[in-house]
Amino acid sequence: MNLDQQWAREWVRLAAAVLSEHRLELVSLDREIGDGDHGENMDRGFSAVTGKLSQLPGEASASDIFKLVGMTLISTVGGAAGPLYGTAFIRAATATAGAQTVDSDGLVSLLTAARDGVVARGKAEVGDKTMVDAWTPAVDAAAAAAQDGSDPAAVLAAAAQAAEAGALATEPLVAHKGRASYLGERAVGHRDPGAQSSALLLRAAADAAAGA
């Protein structure tokens, strides 16, 4: 079943819930190799998104919703994650502009555009121990699943699983971008908080699709 604006809304709702629930976990990951605010930043941003979204008319498209999410995250998250996630959602909005529903290929375009937005702003490569290490495997897994003819829910499930594996795989890495890069070898053994929040976000997308 193709995904519509209901799914987009549910994704955001679940993302806000899961980020609020995992606030302290993200704070503590960021305290280990960053400055301890990532959970707070994401929770603040998605709370604001939730408030704004409730004022958006029910007929608003997925693209409208993503645009609102992106603008709100830029306005409220701050830190590195704000402009990065904000740009991701604004690019996702552009990728889905004009579409009533999103099929599997459309989802791959959406995820690719979002990931490309993060890379354009942050200039990180895979292996730099950033959120890109969750997004790029997710994009790749989504593309493979779509190629295999999976439906959108299955595509997102594959993406979420790959993002989780990608977040986990940041643990042995030395960081080359963001605050964690100052740690050198000392970052080894710690998961990147942005990769972890990305995995949570993509899991929320998959859960929203599974429930649809």
Partner: protein, 333 residues
């Protein structure tokens, strides 16, 4: 966590409110979005200087808003860059048409958010130029990291570029001077203890009773090494040597020596460090012709200090000496 705060979510607005109430003669407060600006801004014909970043480094930046320094400061949440919205609002509030210079400490978050605000202000027809401050010599491997961080040297950039703008210089000139200060200042810090971000509730890192973090960043980022506690003179030497080497200081150079407290360090200790730093510079034949000792760029209640050295010349010395009147730095009026 023991702090004189109410709800951790309110620390920034409440301290900004107290700050603005205490310094109403110098600054005004916008509460939504939060920024602090000179009561007399926009100052006709003057290039406006704006800085900002995560809170928790006070008096940086709001303490330096006023005559001869910043036109506006945007305090983000603790240790988190402000978003583009308040930066844009502050830009619009203080822009007098002569251009606006953003002084941005080199952290991914700050750079990205100020970059976004600059794009938006540009779309509004405001000429915004940005100088990124990266004075922290603790970061050696700037290619495989997010680069040198902006730390205590920021105050010197703000003071000297501020005097330049106050003197009526055009925007390119102000940018040139700010860039020159950044090019000629190097800093390095040390932590004895960690600060606690209010909403995190636990220290940002943990040092053993006999350990210190050499080269620490102002958000508690790690530095060059975690080493055993040693004497103030030993620590001073470990902080100053990389700075002197990086600047390539030679006999006859004149410098400004800045010993900065990290928030929880008593003044007595800062002067003990200053004493030996001045001695070491003198041994190299370097003249300390200006100095600053105090708690100016902090990391919450962290105990520790940083040393900054700025290589002076006549232009920078004159601008340093120019009158300044802000809540945290004042002379000549």
């Amino acid at each position: 966590m023991k702090k004189l705060i109410n709800d951790p979510k309110d620390v920034v607005p409440e301290s900004a409110a107290g700050f603005a109430a205490a310094h109403a003669d110098l600054v005004s407060l916008s509460t939504d979005p939060i920024y602090i600006w000179r009561t007399d801004a926009p100052v006709s014909g003057k290039v406006a200087l704006i800085s900002g970043g995560g809170s928790g480094h006070e008096p940086l930046h709001a303490g330096f808003v006023g005559f001869g320094m910043l036109d506006a400061a945007i305090p983000g949440p603790v240790f988190t860059s402000p978003t583009p919205d308040p930066i844009l609002a502050a830009t619009q509030a203080v822009s007098a048409g002569a251009g606006v210079v953003y002084l941005v400490k080199n952290y991914t978050g700050d750079v990205l958010n100020f970059e976004t605000a600059a794009e938006m202000a540009g779309a509004d027809g405001i000429d915004v130029q940005t100088v990124v401050i990266n004075d922290d010599v603790a970061v050696q491997d700037s290619l495989y990291t997010a680069g040198r961080r902006g730390v205590a040297g920021t105050v010197l950039v703000e003071k000297i570029a501020g005097a330049c703008a106050e003197g009526g210089a055009a925007i390119d000139e102000v940018v040139r001077v700010a860039q020159r200060v950044n090019d000629r200042v190097r800093s390095m810090g040390v932590a004895l203890t960690a600060g606690t971000v209010p909403h995190a509730g636990e220290p940002g890192f943990v040092l053993a009773e006999d350990e210190i973090e050499l080269g620490v960043g102002i958000h508690g980022e790690p530095g060059r090494a975690r080493i055993p506690l040693e004497s103030a003179d030993g620590i001073t030497e470990k902080l100053l040597t990389p700075i002197m080497d990086d600047l390539g200081l030679v006999t006859g150079d004149q410098v400004l020596l800045f010993v900065n407290g990290m928030g929880g360090t008593p003044q007595m200790e800062l002067y003990i460090v200053y004493r030996h730093a001045a001695q070491l510079l003198a041994e190299r034949g370097v003249e300390v012709s200006r100095n600053l000792v105090g708690t100016y760029v902090t990391s919450l209640e962290m105990q520790g200090c940083s040393i900054s050295v700025l290589k002076l010349d006549d232009e920078l010395t004159e601008l340093w000496d120019a009158p300044v009147q802000t809540p945290a730095l004042r002379w000549g009026r």
